[in-house]
């Protein structure tokens, strides 16, 4: 019987999967559009904030100045997280929608490395691009704020921690969407579910909190993914500003916000992994 002599050739490797996912991510227009919009929003809103916010008369205390400086660089996050959430969902649901997933899963039949590779590549790319955009926005808006009488202290580690936290929050929201996309396997459904969680749920909780004036509702709301994420880029001393209804209640520290959002992401990734492994593709 004739046989093909197997040459000593390379098999599946995680570095190969990372490279594959990088090629996939960078070869689609939706990626370029979403990251382009993210960078544009981050820098343009930072500049807008820088030219439009100013004070007359008395000098600001240091915390308020730092808070405003952080806000200038991160004011875009509540918008750009929607863009990243859409992209995060699309990186997996785009494969289900087109049938590409079958090519992906025949190349990596153990399946989970393909999902983890996707999460690592998309997460790392999102983190680097958003961090660069936020830092550029910070460096451009700081002189504008200074011209308006708001002198930020750029040597303050808390200031930089907030900027890194903003990039981290965007990244986790993006991966959150990827996990939801893996579970839902449909672009429209996944995007609706994620935007619903980010946009609609916090608003509902806020209305509910205002009506009931109950502390537990506020506390519960603090654990929503987008609320927890937004704590990641709060300047540490601005906590009182987060109590708009005077109800009191829980305010998460930035690191606690990061843990809560990371827990959401981890939980959904576990569910996504189980389903990906179990379901027919």
């Amino acid at each position: 019987m004739t046989t093909i002599a197997p040459a000593p050739l390379s098999g599946v490797s995680f570095s190969g999967i990372l490279r594959s996912e990088w090629i996939k991510l960078m070869s689609l227009r939706s990626t370029i559009w979403c990251y382009g919009i993210l960078v544009f929003l981050t820098i343009s809103l930072g500049l807008l904030f820088g030219v439009s916010i100013g004070i007359d008369g008395a000098a600001l205390d240091r915390d308020t100045a730092q808070t405003l400086a952080v806000q200038a660089a991160t004011v875009s996050v509540s918008f750009s997280q929607l863009v990243i959430a859409v992209l995060g969902a699309l990186v997996i649901t785009g494969e289900y929608g087109t049938g590409m997933i079958r090519s992906t899963l025949t190349a990596v039949p153990t399946r989970l490395p393909a999902l983890f590779g996707k999460v690592v590549v998309f997460g790392a790319t999102t983190f680097v691009i958003s961090l660069v955009a936020i830092v550029v926005s910070a460096l451009m808006s700081a002189p504008l704020l200074a011209g308006n009488g708001i002198e930020a202290d750029l040597t303050d580690p808390g200031y930089w921690a907030a900027l890194v936290g903003a990039a981290g929050s965007l990244t986790l929201i993006g991966v959150f969407a990827t996990a939801v996309g893996t579970i839902v396997r449909n672009s429209a459904g996944a995007i609706a579910a994620v935007l619903g969680t980010i946009l609609v749920l916090p608003t509902i909780m806020q209305i509910f909190a205002a009506i009931t004036a109950a502390e537990w509702v506020v506390n519960l709301g603090a654990f929503l993914p987008s609320n927890a994420g937004s704590r990641m880029y709060a300047y540490v001393s601005d906590a009182p500003a987060m109590d708009p209804f005077g109800i009191g209640g829980l305010v998460l520290e930035p690191w606690q916000g990061a843990l809560v959002l990371a827990a959401w992401v981890a939980g959904l990734l576990v569910l996504a992994s189980v389903l990906l492994k179990r379901r027919d593709a």
């Binding site: 046989t3 093909i4 098999g11 594959s20 070869s27 689609l28 025949t106 190349a107 027919d280």
Partner: protein, 311 residues
């Protein structure tokens, strides 16, 4: 289970149930290297589902299927073991052909050189940098074949590979399949084109309603199913029909002077007619075609039959 030398694909008791529907029902077969094995059956017979189970996309409800002695997912370099074309739409429409192939190849460390090779082999050079969304069905099939060949695999599983190809493309796929088999590779391909199967396959597995109806060399299937039909033309048709009548013989009539006899050979009928002094105008053993054989085999197993009732 002893490892059988020379068997590349081995399915044992393979089943796939969707609720009460048995898409594949306790199927056992082997596919040998060095030849083209055809997978034949009407729509819904379970061909695609079986192929999807071979590469682990669908999980069997029962039984198992191995390629070269291991489950597909257990191979260290699955793309180098099995190349698969399940449908031409396993491609992201927003990506160019070359990036699609680079992305798949990258998982196995397959680089640009091999990607360029399969693009040249499948004749996709002119569209390689175009987005796949604008591809015709035929170009999509070529891209699917390029992806299947990427790992230079010892086994190829091709679901309807000629679907949507122009005549030149059909001939190309046929020659490619025969060439790859001649190199000692294992080729399993499905087609709903019986004539295609007759020209391409050496061995045929016929599926109907999820079960194997026939599993034999092409020539055997043709001979077994239609070898005994004889066309007889005689002015005395009614009398001859009575003379040949027996439990093993079936006679069908479509014209007053024409009989089609199953169960007797042409010499037997001729001798009987001579003895009984029945004039014969024609006595022709029917040469079976694979298409006839297929229709005969699957007559009871067509899931979606076009109905002629009420006409």
């Amino acid at each position: 289970m002893p490892y059988s030398v020379g068997v590349m694909i081995e399915a044992v008791g393979l089943s796939k149930h969707y609720g009460a529907t048995k898409a594949v029902d306790d199927v056992t077969f082997t596919v040998q290297p060095g030849m083209v094995t055809g997978f034949l059956g009407p729509n819904g017979a379970g061909k695609s589902t079986t192929m999807r189970m071979i590469v682990g996309l669908d999980r069997p409800s029962a039984g198992h299927v191995t390629v070269n002695g291991k489950r597909y997912a257990e191979h260290r370099a699955p793309l180098r073991e099995v190349g698969v074309l399940l449908d031409a739409k396993a491609v992201h429409t927003g990506r160019s052909a070359v990036n699609h192939l680079r992305a798949i190849g990258a998982t196995h460390g397959i680089g640009r050189t091999r990607v360029e090779e399969v693009i040249a082999l499948t004749g996709l050079q002119s569209v390689a940098k175009k987005r796949v969304g604008g591809f015709s069905l035929g170009m999509g099939q070529r891209l699917g074949l390029a992806a299947a060949l990427l790992g230079d695999p010892a086994t190829l599983v091709l679901d309807e590979p000629v679907n949507g190809l122009d005549p030149e493309g059909v001939v190309w796929v046929r020659n490619l399949a025969r060439h790859l088999a001649a190199e000692g590779r294992t080729i399993l391909l499905s087609s709903h084109l019986m004539s295609e199967m007759a020209q391409t396959a050496d061995h045929i597995i016929v599926l109907g309603r999820g079960r194997i109806i026939a599993n034999a060399p092409v020539a055997d299937i043709v001979a077994k199913s239609t070898g005994t039909a004889v066309t007889v033309r005689t002015p005395d048709a009614a009398r001859l029909a009575q003379l040949v009548a027996s439990p093993e013989v079936t006679v069908t009539t479509t014209e007053p002077t024409l009989l089609i006899v199953n169960g007797l050979t042409a010499p037997q009928i001729g001798e009987l007619a001579a003895r009984e002094k029945v004039v014969l105008h024609e006595l022709t053993p029917t040469v079976g075609t694979l298409e006839d054989a297929y229709m005969q085999l699957t007559a009871d197993d067509v899931e979606y039959r076009s109905s002629n009732e009420g006409i």
